[in-house]
Symmetry: C2
Subunit: 532 residues, 2 copies
């Protein structure tokens, strides 16, 4: 029997935190926030009293359409704190009229044809793991209706080229199924965002997803040889190439387009051989900035570790890889071709230069292993904290090294100040998820006291304070969570106005009726669908 | 006294091949092509009888304008075989009316304002090293005139951030001046196209230049943190970031835009520390495909050599690093941080697995050294061959490994067949200039018998045959030479039509009067300025 996806929260229904585990979590929160919270359950979809669908597809497309309460509810939100609270409260931000489930590019084109002619907005939906409102059908008032365009039916691996190490895959496939198909060839995409289990390849591409690996090819962008996408004006297919200099890259225009320019249906992805050589260590630093200096040295060394993740003392303690007295740098190398012990040795020298002390080997493995399993389990735990009425949410940015310390201090202070003021108790922690030669990606986690009914409004205040601080400090409003609808106020200020004009013109050329995911990246002309 | 740039050909006037060197070259060509050729000299610019300028700038811009014959002639062509022959024949394809020389972004904006209001086309000109007609003022009939927008006055290094290892530089600076400014900081851009001595940073960015280094960050694209560009609608400045996921990259829309969307005036470029550890070798292979198999293994190993350049037997002989019996793979590693001997050892093992035999150490250094000096001197030698009335030209592509051998054979055969048929004698050689995990960039050189008066027409036939073969075999019409005007017929077929539509719409948004480099990437609406 197949497992059932949660309609309201993360992942599998049967993997939710319940019973003893939930009680332990509540006890921990009681100690930490002064309030264990009170767990609430999500309503059944039938209890949501969804408005009747405003549109129905033409007969030829009726077979692709679904209008059950559960399907509509599940497809009307992503996985942000706001999304989950809205679902738990039975008060969804916006509701799609229908779910359309094409199984190939022709089906996608047919749906877009109908949407264009009937003034129906289409919101592409892969794994539904957006944490920025990217799949929320909040499209403004100018449409006759809105459909969620579920791409999970496009889930095949079409070709595996073991010579070039690349695969042609459909956009709706999820990470685990893709890896399963590649494993017999000894190959892997080596791209593991935290959403890996439930995020689709098309979502990775549309949002410029970044994976678990910390250096070099951090974003999926670099792993794309070519793409196929459907627009209301037809299908676009770029040539499959290892590199090119023929004009602005056709692929780069679609990478990060978040369903607003086209529906990505296929891609040729670069693969790597499965690693067989590994070496890793956990290195402790007295302060986060000392750890960051070491991360910078490693990032600039040309060693390109697979893992170079600096976790601050509090977050290390929460994740049980530290006692709260030291920041921890997880440093790991891997290769399918050659031993990497010398790389680790050199990496540890660079850490020692900045005052880092490596754990003895046994403890090392524990730290990295604990981190990895916590990483995958975390979204379920997050849902439980939210169900208890508290706040847990993350946000991320990227910044050059020269401005890193200022950004880190300012953002931590402003977000922490907002938590104290708005929530009364809580903590803001930071880790560096990705390390570049010229900068890093600081990733912040907020855990704060709240109560049912107040979570969304309180979080909105903290998020706004943090986002303002990020922008003022020179960072990007998102390193890999994407823009969606939730980041629009800051993205619009970060993005050069002429880039916005060029994107809007390109959208008009590809999507003349402006039905593709309105509100994401760009508003519908004359409307103001984004929060301000 | 400052050296004088050649108005008609490559580089410094006083570095041209003359006297004994020219005689030796003629003798070599006599042996090789059966005809020593007959050297002709370029006319003096004053003898070109250029048409009078059709436009004059408004008074406020008069100080930026130059209308001397020499300046107009030098700015009316790039460095393709066709360009040089046209100059030698005193028969330029098209002539700019004026050269405009702003010295800052405001000056660029003022020139574009005037051009937009007066219907004057503006062709950005950096080092003038385009080999694809990118700076040739062939803009179609719809303009009152055309100016060459010389950006060499924007030649400053504005900031060096040694912490993040990045520099903010103006677009008109050339490679050597940039490196000189960075050397005191121990930093380098590590980007050396063959045009390095005379190509500008703005040109690198506008054409997606690829450097001498063979793997990893081959194109300048990956070295860009942020950019500033002037359009007829104003100035666009992207945020300086080490990485981001906020919508389609503003920079990637301009990278490769070849002056058709904006005039790039500044960029933050990523730098690296100057390497101090080096290890290199030359490896010989009985056949080119065996060498390519080794290059693929190295490319997929994760070793990321700085040099991984496979040169076929004939080209190795011509470049004096072989006797014509073996293909030569130049394999070199470098690092500013750690020894790379183990990397070379592993690379040589991979080569041995594919039948490669490494030269003893002494010969190794000679081979790499000979190659490097020939590489820098080559454009001067090329000019001399052209002046003797023969053909020497190059073209390049990229292809995934699974289709590499087919492309290499077909393109070599078709180009070789065209040489035999059209020219009667000559040779087509190939090297792999860049090696990716999933493919490579084959770079072809044609040396063929010709005579004054026939060079352009004969080359056009060979080039067309080669380009058709590249497209049919799945390659890109250019890996790093750019599109310009000369590659348009094939680029237009390679590029998805919807990408063209999106680009045209973006251009209209940024350049409403359509005055930026018309004919490059896109034609002026209603015109057909590209050759068909």
């Amino acid at each position: 029997m197949s497992r059932r996806r949660s309609w309201w929260g993360w992942g599998w229904e049967d993997a939710a935190v319940t019973g003893d585990e939930l009680e332990r979590l509540a006890a921990m929160l009681a100690a930490f926030l002064g309030d264990p919270g009170r767990s609430r359950d999500a309503p059944e979809p039938g209890a949501l009293r969804l408005p009747a669908p405003r549109v129905r597809p033409p007969g030829a497309l009726a077979g692709l359409a679904e209008a059950s309460d559960e399907a509509r509810a599940l497809h009307s939100h992503g996985q942000s704190l706001g999304d989950i609270v809205a679902a738990l409260e039975g008060d969804l931000d916006a509701v799609c009229d229908l779910v359309m489930r094409p199984t190939d590019g022709a089906g996608v084109a047919a749906v877009l044809d109908w949407c264009s002619s009937a003034n129906v907005a289409a919101v592409p939906f892969g794994g539904g793991t957006s944490v920025v409102g990217g799949v929320t059908p909040r499209v403004g008032d100018g449409y006759a209706g809105v459909v969620s365009l579920d791409l999970r039916g496009l889930d095949r691996v079409l070709e595996v080229d073991t010579v070039s190490r690349a695969a042609r895959v459909e956009a709706g496939i999820l990470g685990p199924a893709l890896e399963e198909a590649l494993r017999p060839h000894g190959l892997t995409v080596r791209h593991q965002p935290q959403s890996y289990e439930f995020a689709s390849v098309g979502g990775w591409l549309a949002t410029r997803s970044a994976g678990h690996h910390s250096t070099l090819h951090t974003h999926i962008d670099d792993r794309v040889e070519g793409m196929r996408a459907v627009t209301p004006r037809g299908t676009l297919e770029s040539r499959r190439l290892p590199g090119s200099g023929a004009g602005p890259s056709p692929d780069r225009l679609l990478l990060g387009s978040e369903g607003a320019l086209a529906v990505i249906t296929e891609a040729w992805l670069r693969l790597v051989a499965r690693p067989v050589h590994r070496a890793q260590a956990a290195v402790r630093f007295g302060g986060f900035t000392a750890g960051a200096a070491a991360a910078r040295a490693v990032g600039q060394s040309g060693l390109y570790p697979a893992t170079c993740r600096l976790i601050d003392a509090t977050e290390a303690m929460i994740n049980r890889i530290g006692d709260g007295s030291a920041s921890v740098l997880l440093l790991g190398f891997e290769s399918a071709d050659h031993p990497v012990d010398a790389d680790l040795t050199r990496g540890l020298e660079l850490c020692a230069d900045h005052g880092g002390s490596a754990d003895p080997p046994t403890a090392r493995d524990d730290a990295a292993g604990s981190w990895r399993s916590a990483f995958i389990r975390l979204p379920y735990v997050r849902d439980a904290v939210i169900r208890l009425g508290h706040i847990v949410e993350t946000f991320e940015t990227a910044i050059t090294w020269d401005r890193f310390e200022d950004l880190w201090r300012t953002v931590s202070d402003r977000a922490g100040g907002a938590v104290a003021e708005v929530c009364g108790a809580g903590v803001v922690t930071c880790r560096l998820t990705h390390v570049y030669p010229d900068g890093c990606a600081p990733y912040f986690t907020v855990i704060a006291r709240s109560r049912h009914g107040d979570q969304r409004a309180q979080w909105a205040q903290v998020k706004a304070a943090a986002s303002e601080a990020i922008l003022a400090a020179g960072g990007t409003i998102t390193h890999h969570h994407a823009v969606g609808r939730d980041h629009r106020p800051w993205y619009d200020r970060q993005r050069p106005q002429l880039t916005a004009d060029a994107l809007a013109a390109a959208k008009r050329a590809l999507d003349p009726a402006w039905i593709l995911n309105p509100g994401v990246l760009l508003d519908a002309p004359g409307s103001q669908s984004s929060p301000t």
